[in-house]
């Protein structure tokens, strides 16, 4: 967005309006059952966006998100809570929402590696899987507190990831790609042939317990009864908010600047004192850490892990969410995750064709809008800050 000459901060209301509309829309979409309604909704949504774009209604929205991000961020949390509350009894919708939240965390992690530091990682799903298997093993065979399990899941993902550091740091471009791809295949095969971790059969994951409170029991408070997914919903939302803030601060600091610098021109960055290896390592480990935590929690939500959940194809999905949303833009990532997870689930008629359609979609985006749905705006260190 062009701040040229814009001396005062943009108003809040365009963003607020957009947020409200979006919330209402997503809510209806999630509630919709009939295929006809859903298709109609989708058509309407696309049309609305295009129209808004054509009427130049999107720029003010973008500007108020840029200037009033903190306020709008808080409101977005409220909106998510509202959706969660509305579907408090509906297991499946909540599961969808939780999936979106946790995938968003994972893609945020990938975004640090890939969107900022430019470190290729085609094994995102593998690190997600490492997290999930961690919770499977620890919850089954140990009494480790489950919040700690999440942390360990993240650390383990980061640690196992660090085994790849040497090749990742030494290789560039396509050669770097093959390292992570090889790792993705290696890990899946390993999980498949390794009996201790259940082989292709996978493992059950006991549900989360917090202070003696079991997340897998339905909740009844007085007369209102909640789906057991509600507890997971809250934890996941918390995790996403934390991850979002982390990534935001990272980008809006010298660290973010360093990562951009080494992504865009490693040689120049070196000539201005950047320790390229150090920052690549930080980005790679931090990213895997986030992905691992998300995976650990998702393992408990799903209650089951198996090698086939974490294939190369799934890693591709994560990467393409990144591209779809607009590399480097956390808001875009969340929107893209929402689309990629929810639409095929709701639109039963395309279930069979989901991968086909959505691979074609990515191709189209890459050909015609390579910067993604919500391109990353230029860095603002402090939203709304003016000299």
């Amino acid at each position: 967005m062009a701040e040229a000459g814009q001396k005062t901060n943009a108003p809040l209301w365009p963003g607020l309006a957009a947020l409200l509309l979006a919330t209402a829309y997503v809510g209806t979409m999630l509630a919709a059952e009939k295929q006809r309604t859903i298709i109609a909704l989708l058509g309407f949504g696309i049309a609305a966006i295009l129209l808004a774009g054509w009427l130049r209604l999107l720029e003010p929205v973008g500007r108020s998100f840029a200037d009033r991000e903190d306020a709008l961020g808080a409101l977005s949390i409220a909106a998510t809570l509202a959706i969660g509350g509305y579907f408090r009894e509906d297991h499946f919708v909540l599961l969808l929402v939780v999936t979106v939240l946790l995938y968003s965390v994972a893609t945020l992690g990938l975004n640090i590696q890939f969107g900022y530091a430019g470190v290729l990682n085609f094994a995102g799903a593998s690190f997600f899987g490492i997290g999930a298997y961690t919770s499977a093993v620890l919850n089954t065979y140990s009494a480790v507190p489950h919040l700690l399990v999440l942390l360990i899941g993240g650390l383990l993902a980061a640690f196992i990831g660090s085994l790849l550091l040497l090749p990742v740091l030494r290789t560039r471009g396509h050669y770097a790609a093959v390292v992570t791809i090889a790792f993705a295949l290696l890990l899946k095969t390993f999980l498949e042939v390794n009996d201790v971790l259940g082989g292709p059969q996978g493992m059950q994951v006991p549900g989360m317990k917090l202070l003696g409170w079991s997340f897998n029991d339905n909740i009844t408070i007085g007369r209102l009864s909640l789906s057991f997914y509600m507890s997971y919903f809250f934890v996941s939302l918390l995790l996403l908010v934390a991850a979002f803030i982390l990534v935001r601060r990272l980008e809006r600091s010298w660290v973010g600047l360093n990562l951009d610098a080494l992504r865009l021109d490693e040689t120049a960055a070196r000539c201005f004192g950047l320790n390229v290896a150090r920052w690549k390592i930080i980005a790679f480990l931090l990213g895997n850490f986030l992905i691992g935590i998300a995976g650990a929690l998702f393992g408990m939500v799903g209650g089951f892990v198996a090698p086939n959940n974490y294939t190369f194809a799934d890693s591709l999905i994560l990467v393409s969410i990144l591209l779809l949303g607009g590399i480097g833009n956390p808001w875009g990532l969340i929107v893209a995750t929402l689309i990629v997870v929810v639409v095929p689930e709701k639109l039963q008629t395309i279930q069979e064709y989901r991968f086909l359609l959505y691979a074609s979609l990515v191709i189209a985006v890459l050909l015609f809008r390579p910067e993604g749905l919500l391109p990353r705006p230029v860095r603002r260190y402090f939203p709304g800050w003016r000299p």
Binding site: V255, A261, I282, V378, R379, P387
Partner: protein
């Protein structure tokens, strides 16, 4: 300690690429606050010299001493920390980043790079950010006040001269003792080049201790701003001295093979 007579001293520096000698036992030194011109036909090793000094290529033989410290085999980032900044022949800005960001890349050593500071101590960070903003603004103001209002806009889409200006600001923001300019005039008109040179000189006069080595094809520029120049050919030094003197040199004219001096 005795006043330093040679800021940078290079002794019989050599660099091979495959069979080719890009630098052949080059001896070179520059006194504090001098402006040294480095000239010679294409492929005579001027840029290679910069790349070896700034640690992009390792030297095969010889030594580079900067302020009495040997930096021959030092990594690029050590050279930068020692106080040497450079620009590049082909502009190497990060076009998708804002003007401010590009300048801050040059400011790396003066910014707190701690993770905890950057992520958690946001108020302290904000203070440092605002300071750096002022610094960048004042520097940019010397070159092109116009750019100050657009400092948070992407560098992409700026004309060549502005990109050069930003690149030079990126190199100057950390107040280096030695500045290596690699063909600042490339891709600019005569007038633009002169304008740029004036700005550089202005900066130099403002901060007293800035030494410059400039690689340039525009002989006008060399004549105007350098105190001394060195002519390279096939990686070897073939002449040294004030511009008028080397320009008159027979060997030099042969090397340039009819290139009007």
């Amino acid at each position: 300690m005795a006043a330093l007579t040679k800021l940078l001293e290079v002794r019989s520096l050599s660099k091979k690429f495959g069979g080719v000698l890009a630098l052949d036992r080059l001896d070179l030194s520059v006194a504090p606050n001098d402006i040294l011109g480095l000239i010679g036909p294409n492929g005579s090793g001027k840029t290679t010299f910069f790349n070896v000094v700034t640690g992009i290529y390792p030297a095969d033989a010889g030594s580079v001493v900067f302020e009495r410290v040997d930096i021959t085999q030092a990594a690029s980032r050590t050279v930068y920390r020692a106080g040497i900044s450079r620009t590049f022949q082909r502009s190497r800005l990060c076009l998708s980043l804002s003007i401010f960001d590009n300048i801050m890349i040059g400011n790396h050593k003066r910014l707190n790079q701690g993770l905890w500071f950057n992520l958690m101590r946001r108020s302290d960070f904000k203070r440092q950010f605002e300071e750096s903003y002022q610094a960048a603004r004042t520097l940019l103001d010397v070159f092109e006040p116009r750019l100050c209002d657009r400092i948070f806009e992407p560098a992409a889409g700026l004309p060549m001269i502005d990109r050069r200006r930003i690149e030079i600001c990126r190199a100057l923001i950390n107040e280096p003792r030695l500045l290596l300019l690699d063909e600042p005039s490339a891709g600019m008109t005569h007038e633009e080049t002169n304008e740029l040179m004036d700005d550089i000189l202005q900066v130099r006069d403002r901060k007293k201790n800035l030494t410059i080595i400039i690689v340039e094809h525009e002989m006008g520029v060399i004549e105007r701003i350098t105190d001394r120049c060195i002519v390279l050919n096939f990686g070897r030094k073939i002449a040294e001295g004030p511009y008028r003197q080397v320009a008159a040199d027979k060997q030099v004219q042969e090397a340039y093979l009819g290139v009007a001096l």
